[in-house]
Structure formats: C-alpha cells, structure tokens
C-alpha cells in the first residue's frame, strides 16, 4: 500500500506540473487550452529529437525544449488565440476559442502522426531500468528523477510568479486586465508571455516523462484528460489547486489498482471526476463565480 502511495505521488507530481501550465493559461487569459495534451506530446518529440540528433542527455534537453515551447506558446497565442478571442469579445460564450484549440490539437496530432509514423519511440538511458529502495518502498529511478524535476520546476515557477516583476505583472493582468491596461501594461504582450510560460512548464513535464514513457502522437490525450481533471479538481486558475489536485489524482489512480485492474483505473478517475464536477464545479480551491 505504501508503495502504491509513493508511486501515486511520483506520477502525481507530473500531473500537477502539466496542470500548472493549464491553470496558468486559464487563470490569466480565461482560455481553456484543449491543445495542452498534444503540446505535451510535441515537447516530448522535441526532447526525443534533441537526444537523437544533438546527443544531449535526456535532462539537458531542457535547454532546447523550454525555449522552444515558450516560443511556440507565444506564437500560438499571438497568431491564433488572441485574434479569435478579440473577434468573440462580445459573444457570451466564446465557443470559437474552444473549437480552435481543439482543432489545433487534432491537427498537430495528425501532422505528427504523418511525420513520425504510428510507431512508438523511446529513449534508452543508463538508468531506465534501475530502481531505488527506501525502506519497504521500491521506486523506479526515472520516476524519482521526474518527481525531483517536477518539484524543482514547481517551486521555481511559484517563486517566479510571486517574486519576480514579470510574475507580478502577469498576476495583475490575470486579476484585472482592464485596470492593468489603464496603468500602461502591454496586456497582449503579457498574454503571449503567459501562454509561452504555460507551455514552457509543460515542456519540462515532457522532458521528465521521456526517460520512462514511450512516445507516440496520441499519448497527449490521456495526459490532457488527466490534466483537465486535475485543474478542475483544484479549481481553474488555482496554482496550489493544480499541485494538490495532481497529487490526489496520481494517488487515487495508483491506489485503486488494489481493487480494479489497472486498465480501468483511468475510468475510475474519469467517472469520479464527473461526479465531483456535478457536485462542486468550482473545484477544491476555485472560486464559485468561475463555475
């Protein structure tokens, strides 16, 4: 049981990391990025290519992945999302933005499928099959490293938002974009940056996953769904919510394998989430008016 708990925490930290980007994007721009899972997949392929063509060790690929994902995020927001949001600013429910990110997601997934083929790719490292034992708990090394990376990035991200100038500006825009505008903040630029950062954080999750997860154009989907579950559980726009939510999902998923075959553990999470959504749409930490 303890082992399962620990496994849950390890993978949960990744779920939380993925959810961080998503919740940041929503919290600042009120956009639900349906393409989040596919973009995770993109970051994993970038990492994979960096290892194979540049000979970088898996975690060093961060040097390539993070700026690349930031740039991609900046561009996507600037060229695709903001124009659509501006067009829909007097529509009550901006369905167009939802369909856009969804369409982008499908497009990216299938382009990668066409380019990389339907086979799984993977990275073999020296530590891929190693495990570490602490007390009665056995942990696979790549997952442990992933947990460590996720924790470091989460802390850095939190510090950035709270302490840095840019972080303050981003939070201000998230709270009241109109006032920020009046105070001379270049709001569109901040949106682009926020989106870029959201994807950069997502990229670190991709790097963390690559050593132990096989890569395929459609792996994004299941992570996306879990990320959404996490974000909604923790409350859209809540950073601590994303972290706690991720850990919770990881633990629930892991622990329920005691009673349910692992293939069904995702179903359990999904349906439990659905029920939760109906009872408390605002999530654990969200504010009621978002619901």
């Amino acid at each position: 049981m303890l082992s399962l708990l620990v496994q849950g925490i390890l993978i949960g930290s990744i779920y939380g990391l993925i959810a961080l980007g998503l919740t940041l994007i929503f919290g600042i721009m009120r956009v639900i990025n349906f393409a989040h899972g596919t973009l995770l997949m993109v970051s994993m392929y970038i990492a994979f290519l960096s290892v194979n063509t540049l000979g970088l060790s898996p975690y060093l690929t961060l040097i390539v992945v993070v700026p690349a994902m930031f740039g991609i995020g900046y561009l996507i927001n600037m060229a695709l999302i903001q124009p659509v949001l501006n067009k829909e600013s007097d529509v009550r429910e901006p369905i167009g933005a939802l369909v856009l990110t969804f369409g982008l997601s499908v497009l990216l997934e299938n382009v990668f499928l066409a380019v990389f083929g339907p086979n799984y790719h993977s990275i073999r490292t020296s530590f891929s099959n190693e495990t570490v034992q602490i007390g009665s708990v056995i942990m696979p090394v790549p997952k442990l490293y992933a947990f460590l990376l996720a924790s470091v990035v989460t802390v850095l991200f939190y510090l950035f938002l709270q302490k840095s100038e840019m972080g303050r500006v981003i939070r201000a825009v998230g709270q009241d974009r109109n006032t920020a505008l009046l105070m001379g903040v270049n709001v569109p630029f901040v949106f682009n940056v926020a989106f870029g950062i959201g994807l950069a954080v997502l990229g670190t999750a991709g790097v963390a996953l690559v050593p132990f997860y096989n890569i395929h154009p459609s792996i994004g989907n299941i992570f996306a769904i879990k990320a959404f579950v996490t974000v909604l559980l923790g409350g859209l726009g809540s950073i601590p919510g994303a972290i706690v939510g991720g850990l919770l999902i990881g633990i629930v998923e892991s622990v329920c394998t005691l009673w349910v075959p692992s293939t069904l553990s995702s179903v359990v999470v999904l349906y439990a989430f659905l029920i939760f959504l109906f009872i408390r749409p605002a999530g654990l930490f969200g504010s009621e008016h978002d619901a």
């Binding site: 695709l80 939802l98 299938n110 959404f228 909604l232 999904l270």
Partner: protein, 349 residues
Amino acid sequence: MKKFIPIGVLGLVSILIPAFVDNQYILHSIVMILLYAYLSTSWNIVGGFAGQLSLGHSSFMAIGGYTSTLLAIHSGLSPWIGMLVGGCAAAFVAVLVGIPSFRLKGAYYSLATIAFAEGLSMLLQTVKRIGPIDLGGAEGLRVASIPDASILDFQSLSKVPYYYIILVFLAIVVFVSWYIDRSKLGYYLTALKEDEDAAKALGINTQQVKLIAAGLSAFFTALGGTFFVQLIRYVEPATIAGIDLSTQMVFLAVVGGMGTVFGPLVGSIVLTTLATITQIYFGGSSSGLHLIIYGTAVVAVILFMPPGHGIIHPILKMLGLAEKDGANKSDGRLNEAAAPSSRKDLVRE
C-alpha cells in the same frame, strides 16, 4: 420559394446517383459521405442550435449500435426496431447526463462530454461480459450475415440499398432541423445560445430546452450508429465510441456553419469528399490525413470568418439566398449603456 430550388435539384441528382455509379467501393465512399452529413446534422441540434459543444457525441452512436446488435443477437429483434430502441436509450442517457452537465459553463460542459465518452469507450473495451450478455470487449461484436438478406433485415450485399436508406435518413434529419429552426423550440434555442439571462426573463426554461435538444440530437445520432454497424456488419468500441468520430461530427458542422440548417450538410459533403479523394490519390497511407484536412479547415474557418459562420454563408450569399442584414445604424452614437452582455463584462471583476 426560390430557396427550395437548389434543394430540389440536389434531391433529384442524389436519387439518380446509383444509376450512374457501378463501382461498389465508390458507392461505399459516397454512403460514408452521406452518413457523416447525417451525423454532423444530428450533432448540430445540440452543438449548433443550442450552442452546447458536445465533444463526445460518438458515445451515442455506440449506444445505438450496441443496443441494436445485442438485441438482435439475444432476442432476434429486427435491427430496425433495435435501432429505434437504441435511439430512445441514447436520448434517455443524454438527458440523464445533461441534467447535471448543462449547469456547467461552456468549457466545463465540453470537458464533461469528453470524460463521459472516453470512459464509455474504455469501459466497452475492457468489460467483456455483463452477466449472460457478451459485449465482445475490445474486439467487438459481429453482425451475423444473413443469406438472401432483404432490406427488412437491414442488410445487403450491394451498397445500393444502404445508399437509399442513408439518403432518407439524411432527408429526415435535415427536415427535422429545418422544422426546429423555425419553431418555438428553435427560437428558444437561439435565445438561450445568444443570451441565457435574457432568455430566462422571457419565460424560457433554459435547462429543459437544452435537454430536449440533447435528447433529439442523441436519438438521431444513435440511429446513425445502428446504420453504421449494419453497413460494416461490425461494432467495435474503439471506433464507434472513439474520439475520431466525435471530432469529425464537430468539425464538419463547424466548417459548414454550425447553427444553420444546411451548414453541416454542406460542410460534410465538401470536406469528406475532399478527404476521400485525397485518400484515393495518396493511397491508404496515414489514416490521419482526413483529420489534418479537417483540423486545418476548422482553424481557418474560425480565424477568418465571423463567429458562428461557416462555408455555407458565402455560398448562400452567392446564391442570393442570404438573409438581409439591414445594416444601417440609425444614429452614430456610441452604444455606451447598451453593450450586449459580453466577456468584457465578465472580466470586469
């Protein structure tokens, strides 16, 4: 009245097609094109008319397909009747799921539909039997091949009967859409889509109206599910409850013009024909090619056309059938206090 001329022409042409097309493979492709037109029009009732972006609609196809097939296997019930039972089951499920889901705001609702459909798909792939009923698991179920099948068996070796059946289905669902659009239900759906608060003040029970739309949409989608199963004589969870079908229904409707009666039909015919032709010329390379085309089309339509518009709008303009805009502002004054409820207001925290 002149609105109906293009429809009349289309109708005539479509009735005559099988007379000119001999190739069973091509005919099958055409049947699939019409099926997608049917499915996206069905989706549009809740997605376009009611503005509820359901991204898991294939789950209703699965309910339809599995219901009719299981009933045929275990009670020998004719697939036609099984189809209607499946339709009712799907409508029931849609209402049940809709009751809590519709209280959620747009994106939340879409996420709920994805979660529901994914869950159903996984369940169907994993659970092999429920009691004495064999669900087939991931391999699915076969529809028994009936020798000398007649149209009453909902089966045939030639694709021609299927063609006419789907043509009739399509005509029915388009007619139903058209009728809803001009009826009280249609007015109420538009109202709740454009401004839910205003709709409530005018006596509209928005929850109930959404549920009606959901039920109707699910019913027709399920019928399409049974048709699909009878066409390929196979029901397999990954396909029939999969994200691929759900996505296509949405994309085809959006590109054509969600919320219009003929939009999904036009969008489907244009895009699926394009995809089918592309697939023939590029060989059966990647199955994802059609989605690349659809995905690009969706992104393009949303980026470059006004919200809610699709390719049917310029087409209607060309044919001279577009609604008059009446665009003359009577006074040049800024609409200060008269801004419609907008996201700007929501953001004003």
